[in-house]
Amino acid sequence: MKTFFDNLYIVWAIASKDIVNALKNKNTRTNIILMMGMVVFFYWSSTLRPFDKRIDTAVYDEGSSSLTVRPTELADGYTFRFYEASSLQEMERMMGYKQLGVVIPADFDQVLASGGEPTLTGYILWVHRTRVAELEAKYSQKFSELLGQPVRVEIKENFIIPTPGVETSGVYFHILFATFFVTINLVPALMMEEKRTKTLDALLVSPASDGQVVMGKALAGLF
């Protein structure tokens, strides 16, 4: 009896043949290079996002602090814009269009008045972990400038994506669904190619079962 791995091996043999063939094709190669170029471009452009010196901030105020009514333009040209949310959840939703979300603690004004260093809890969107410290420093500095005294912005694990329990976790589902959709659309095309060249007959008399051929094609489509 054939083992699971034997079956998998045949599926992979069929898939890898298609993948290698596709890579040998000039058009496919051009497409892949274009795609990679686009990925690089979007990555590059998104790292430039705060380029216009505007810091759009969604704010959830736990108390009723005076932060949001303060003047928002800094001396070096940076501009703060605050968007108030009435709950943490609403703030997280608003983050879809903002670079930063902050939660102002209830005792913010008191600490500020007593000359201490108040701490804001920061949320950021789609930022790699390695950049967190850098952003933390930047936002701390900007908030300090804004308020005229030291303020810390602490970004811990507050990345909006991926944050469990927030609606945006649906993104995973959509990526998965899109991949699956593209894949199942590619299977008939790949099968037709085999049928046109009549190589499908040869596949069907080989030990590969019908299911394995389809699985192999799906796997090739996935790439």
């Binding site: 043949k17 190589t199 040869a202 008399v205 080989s206």
Partner: protein, 246 residues
């Protein structure tokens, strides 16, 4: 056990009966020639025997495996040379064979063996699209032999080939049969069938109209010693040309 055993095998295509209740049995190691005019049902029969087509009715067993129910067991025991040269044109001959070697789970070394066997080792690195028909045909045979099948199906293996290649292929087939492989051969070339086959069956309009050794067939249909298998074939199937038997 017979290598191939067929009982009342029938196949309809949209109401048209392509194969009509044929019966035959082939011994292991035999070369069986399956002859017939175009559209007589030869390829349909091969497709049913290799599990590519379901019979409408009737039964067929190849190496003891039912062609419908035991398809997965049947597959490793048969090799098929198709009537079309269905190879991956963009891949080299070696890559083509290696791909099938993976499907059949045979070692890579076997690829070199079959390439040598069909005399194509030198050109194995070239892409299939640069090959001539004769070279492709050799690769097709190499592919069918990869897993050392018990039964080899050849669907018009020498069609459109020059005499040199055709002769080479015939000698490969004879060699294989000498090693004990059962060969099921369809062809239009009567000389080829006469020369290669231990027995031939002539099929016409889906029915087997004659089945015997080539010598017996010649003797049966004419007393003239010069009678060829072609004469017999035309006598049996050539009614459209007004030359059929009465």
């Amino acid at each position: 056990m017979k290598a191939i055993e067929v009982q009342d095998l029938t196949r309809d295509y949209n109401g048209l009966r392509a194969v009509d209740g044929i019966n035959f049995a082939i011994e292991p190691g035999e070369i069986f020639g399956f002859l017939g005019p175009n559209g007589a049902g030869k390829t349909t029969t091969i497709k049913m025997l290799t599990g590519q087509l379901r019979p409408t009715s009737g039964k067929a067993q190849v190496m003891g495996c039912d062609v419908v129910e035991d398809r997965q067991h049947l597959k490793p025991q048969i090799g098929v040379v198709f009537d079309s040269q269905n190879l991956y044109e963009r891949m080299s001959a070696r890559d083509n064979l290696r791909f099938y070697a993976r499907l059949y789970q045979v070692k890579k070394a076997r690829v070199e063996e079959v390439l040598t066997q069909v005399g194509m080792s030198d050109r194995a690195r070239d892409k299939m699209k640069t090959y001539s028909n004769g070279m492709k045909q050799r690769i097709l045979i190499a592919r069918a032999l990869l897993h050392k099948p018990e039964v080899l199906f050849l669907d018009e293996p020498t069609r459109g080939l020059d005499p040199n290649v055709a002769r080479d292929i015939r000698s490969i087939v004879t060699e294989l049969a000498d090693q004990g492989m059962t060969v099921f051969l369809t062809t239009h070339y009567m000389e080829e069938a006469d020369q290669l086959s231990d027995r031939v069956a002539i099929i016409d309009q889906g029915r087997i109209v004659a089945m015997d050794t080539p010598e017996n067939l010649r003797a049966e249909y004419s007393e003239d010693e010069k009678t060829t298998l072609e004469d017999v074939f035309v006598q049996l199937t050539g009614r459209y040309l007004g030359r059929g038997s009465e």
